[in-house]
Every structure is written in C-alpha cells, then in structure tokens.
Symmetry: C2
Subunit: 418 residues, 2 copies
Amino acid sequence: MDVDQYMVELGMAARAASRVVAASSTAVRNHALLAVCDTLDGARAKLADANAQDMERGRAKALDAPLLDRLELTPVRIDAMLEGLQQVAALPDPVGSISDMRTMPSGIGVGRMRVPLGVIGIIYESRPNVTVEAASLCLKAGNATILRGGSEALASNGAIAKCLVQGLQAVGLPEAAVQVVATADRAAVGKLIAMPEYVDVIVPRGGKGLIERISKDAKVPVIKHLDGVCHVYIDDGADDKMAVSIAVNAKAQRYGTCNTMETLLVAESKAAAVLPRLAEAYAAAGVELRGCPRTVALVPAATAAIEQDWHEEYLAPVLAVRVVADLQQAIEHINTYSSQHTDSIVTRDHGRAMRFLREVDSSSVMINASTRLADGFEYGLGAEIGISTDKLHARGPVGLEGLTSQKFVVLGEGQIRS
Amino acid sequence: MDVDQYMVELGMAARAASRVVAASSTAVRNHALLAVCDTLDGARAKLADANAQDMERGRAKALDAPLLDRLELTPVRIDAMLEGLQQVAALPDPVGSISDMRTMPSGIGVGRMRVPLGVIGIIYESRPNVTVEAASLCLKAGNATILRGGSEALASNGAIAKCLVQGLQAVGLPEAAVQVVATADRAAVGKLIAMPEYVDVIVPRGGKGLIERISKDAKVPVIKHLDGVCHVYIDDGADDKMAVSIAVNAKAQRYGTCNTMETLLVAESKAAAVLPRLAEAYAAAGVELRGCPRTVALVPAATAAIEQDWHEEYLAPVLAVRVVADLQQAIEHINTYSSQHTDSIVTRDHGRAMRFLREVDSSSVMINASTRLADGFEYGLGAEIGISTDKLHARGPVGLEGLTSQKFVVLGEGQIRS
C-alpha cells in the first residue's frame, strides 16, 4: 500500500464529509451518537474477539503490564463508552450560535458565529476507548475526524470503527465523517500531520514524547498538552487547615494525573506552622519530600532538592517543597518553572489573591482550591478532549467549544465601502 | 555579531519585560502610548534625516517605485502615526476582563480571564509606520514586542525605536517592552521564529511569499494572512440594483486590497439581467472580465477564463465571472476556490441567506454587503494588526482581542477533589 496516497484519500474523503457534517442539524448528529451507542452495545462479542487478538499479540510482544491494562476492553469499559456517548449526545450544541451581534456606523450588523473546525486528526496511544471518546466529541461539534490509534490496538480500533460507520449510516451521515487509519505504518502519522489542505488541527493524546515528536514535525496546528508541573502556594496568613487540606489533596489524591501538584511553595511566615503538619500527612500517604534548605531544616525527613526537582513532573508520590519570601517570589518561581498548566494560591488576602490571578501565566489559575479540580467535568464543559498548555486557541481543558472556531458574520442591506 | 546570541538576548529581555507590562495598569500603558506620541512629534527632524538615509540607499539600490513609496515617511504619514497612537490609547483595554463566571456543583466559581499573549514577534516589509502601529496595539494589549522590519528601512525603524523607548521610560515601563531588531542579517528572522521559549506568537505582515516562508519554518505559532480570493454570489431573485452596486464596489472601489472581490458568481436565472449591466459598469471602471462560457455568451467583451482564474488573487482590475446553477453550486465553488477570507451573497431569500452564512467556510461571511467592508475599523474593533485566514485562535480581522488569550480562573473556598 502507498501510505501517502492512502492518507490523501482519507483526507479528501474527510474534507468532503466535513462539509456535510457541518451543515447537518444538531438532532441528526445526536441521533448518530445514540445509534453508535446501540451498534457498540450489539457488537460486544465482536469487540471482545478483536480485543482478545490485540491482547494476545501484545502479550506475545511482551508489552508491559500498564500498557496491556490500558489496551484491555473490559465489559465495564464498554459500558463507560456507551455512557460517554449518551452524555455527549445530551450536551448543548455549540455550533451555529451567534454572539456579539452589533450594528456598526455603516449600518451593517457584525457578529460571530460558532462553526466547526472542519477535519480533526487525533493521534493516540494504546487505549481503544479513546476512539469513541474523541470521535463523539468531534462529531458533536460538527467536525469530521481521522483517528490514528496505537498499532497494538489495531484490531480493537477496527471493530470500533465498524460500529461508528454503522451509526453514521443509520442517520444518513457520510461514513467518512469518522475514519480510523487502518495501517500500522508509521508513515501514516507523518502524512496526517503534514496535510493542511485536508486536516485543520491535530490533537495528540499520549505521553510527552509523542506530543513533542508531533509538534516538531506538524505542518498543521496542534492543540497540545505537554506536562503538568503544577504548584500550590501557601500565602502569608493563609488558614492552616485549608492550606493543609488543599496541599494534601493536590498531591496525594492521585499521582499520575497532569493536574497533580508537583511543587509546594510556602511563605516563610507560614513554614514553621504548616510544614511539620504537612510532612506528617505526606508521610502517612507515603509521599517523599525533596526540599530547599529551609524546608529540610523544618522537616528532617525531607532530602535536599536539586535544580532539576523544580522542573520535574514526577507523576509519582514525590513532592518538591520550597520556602519563599513572599508572593512576589512565589509568582517568580511559578512563572519560571511552571509548565503553565494549573497553579493555585491559598490565601485570605483579597489583594494578593487577585494579583496571583492576574500575574501567574498558566492555563488555570486558582484561589483556595486544589489543582486536581482543573478538569473539563469540574469546569462544567461536559467532557474534555484534553487540556491545552498552549496560549493560542484553546487554553486549559478543551471541551466542545475548543473543537469549534468563530467566524465573522455580516448582515447588510446593500452596504458598500465608501 | 553572533546573531543567534543577539536574538536570544532580545528574547530573554522581552520575556522579562512582558511580565512587567502584563502586570501594569491600563492607565500606565495608555500614558506610554501618549508619551510615544509626544516623543515622535518632537523627533520629526531626526525621523526625516533617518528616512532620507534609507530613501537614498534605496534609490542607490534601484528599489522599485512602489517600494520606495512605502518606505517614505512624509509629514502626513507621521501625523497619521500620531493619530493612530491616540486612537489606540482611547480604545477599551481587553486585559483583565473576566467572563462566563459560573458556580459549579463543587462550589468553585469558574470563569475566563482575558490576559496578554506575552511576547509577540512582528515581521514586516518596507513600511516604517508599521513599527508604531504594531507596537502600539501589542503594548495596549499588555504584550512585549520584538519588531523586525525590512532591511531597507533600518535607519527609519531605528529612529522610531528610540522614540518608543523614550515613551516607555517616561512612564517607568521597561525599555525591552518594545524592541526593534537592529541588524539586517536574515538569520535574525530565522531565530526569532524558532524561539518558542521567548516568543509566544509571530505576526507576519507582508506579501504571500514572506508569510509562506515564515509559516513553513516557524516553531512558534503564526497568525497568518495569506491571500484574499473573495467572492460575491448574486442569488436567484436578488435585487438587481443592489447586486450591481455591491458587485461594482467589491471589485472596483480599490484593487490592491485583500478584501477585494476576485471572482463573481451569478445564479443562471439572474445572469441575463445583471451581467450586461455589470459589464458596462466594469468597462467604465476599466476592469477586464474573464468568464465561463455562459458569461462570455452574455458579455462579448469577456475573454474565456481558464482553471487558474478561479484560484487567482489578481490585486488588479481583472475579475473572473462564473454563472452557476444555484446556491448549492455557488457554495461548492466558494468552498473549493476561496482562500477563506471573505465571501458575500446578494439575496432576498432568508433561508438561502442563512444557509450561505452557515455553510461558507470563510473568516467573514456576508449577506447583502460589499466584501470591502471586511476590516477591523468597519467591524468596530478599533484597529487591526492584520486579517487572519487561519481557523484557530483569531479568525478574520485581528484587533486587540486577538492579541490576548483567555485563561481559566477558579475561585474557591477550600474545595478539594473527592
């Protein structure tokens, strides 16, 4: 197979399908999502067979245990896929809304209409349920999708793709509205990210390595989420109990997530009061501490942090801790080391809270809340396709709105330029 | 000089300055703009000297007349620069506004705060007045700017840069908030577009060649404006008088602008009524017509269009004309050949008007208005730094808002993730 030619054919079909999907009604797209739900439910045996093939091949290739776990399509995971489809169908449709319509001196009305992006390429790793999650959000927002999953999930993704096609057919939408790349050839990814004439945006979902490779080579805009080096700063005068509660939750509620705190900053006036209490709580949770000299002086169990610790996304029960002079130094530390994902201040002082909000340059900035709350569901977006650490277009959790664009619409009565 | 090292120094200084500008008040930034206005006004003799050097070198290098014209800083152009600064100072400040604040089930308030992008790189060609225009919009929106003008305007841009620095100093903002690249070495551009750690977005202003080169090599997001292949479609049943008025204005009001119509589409039911009248008006204006066979049959003066004509941005008194069966074919033509800049329908029919609005995939879509109205001033944006034909981030005329981003802000009272 000529992979480039194959990808161009997918791209052309997606572009044509995207026009039809963009012009379809909300009702038709919702019916398609519910039809996919039905076909997946009816295809459980086929999905299990296909997934068993992938699992067997994975074991033969000696894939590691976490990867095999992510690859597995259990009945519970299929249930979750179906529930997700129903939830996406129930979300409000962002497409077509017109905002900010105003009459200009010339008499024209100028507003902005929310429209689909067009064709979205999704590149992801082993989890086959992403196929349904990503396709359903893109379809709801009026887009066509080209999905490229991991080679280890090829059979599972192929079986899911058949259900997606059946759902689209059931409501008369073009099959090419959702296409799954049917080759494990790596050249397919290279071509997918280099066809701006057919693909409007790439959303990579996976580890930092995958995302960096794609961003480096892409000729199409990428909505990227690199790492989450998130901070909590305990301000001068903060409530001790709240500070401890947030700092423990932000680190220890879950370790492997991007919105988990990786560095704790404490105002020097608060260090003696909260650090020993926190050290106890972290010790109970099994969290290892790496601290600045003043932290180590207060918490003997902490080891000395090195420069690299301030940059590190541990994704593990390890936390870097630094005592800072004041808010100014905390903001400087964050704007130097943060990955611009999510940073939070615990404070009672309104002026300092607002200054933190304004001056911390991250996609989510919080006052008196755990960084673990940075999430599409917690923010009321309904669902998210990822969390963007970019500044342009979508920033922070990306829901349906992030999968759309706004164009200017002008309503005239014959106006011309004079 | 080590150009890479020089650019890194500019980048680091810009990044540091961007934090200070972002944290500055609206009043301080407005005072800076007015201070620049004063220093430029007081430096008219120096500006004239510097510009005379550039003009002399340009003539010695035998630059062509339009380029020399764009290079010249006449007293009238300096007046326009000063007026522009005052207008930008008077615009509302987009930075800091919080929208969509809503309370979530967990009790946190979630909203979006408009914030500066950070550091903006502007790459432009011969017109030295762009230095002030671009710098003032970026500064107003709270950004630091690195400006790289054409080598032919080096002395003029240097003289303007001195005035900018004096204005910044007068209000205590860092000098590095606006920096003009002081070398004609082309490697400076290559480095500027490849420092994502110091530059958040690149705005190229100039011809298609410049923008394509920059987009191809950039490692930083680019807000780009390629070409303007704009269409007017005269629908079945359109008012003849309005159709002729809009079609003549969209083509003949000015030829060299990106929002000028380049292809006219006419519903076959209207062709006999409007094409001969339009042909007369275009002949009077000196516009050459290149038509499809049906156009040529109705307008003997028209020559036969070839495929390339439907792709062409003439920027000249030439117009491609095609008779189409209906709205469907018009939309298909536009979505095939348009550069997604601006397209307009002339119609009386509400349903078809709304369908055109929804289905034409361009940055501005108009009903009963001349494409020449696609413009930041006409849209009430106050000023524009360019017109984006991208879909992500800013689409259409880019004003102050397009030079900002939105981050999520979360207001809690101790909420944690359960």
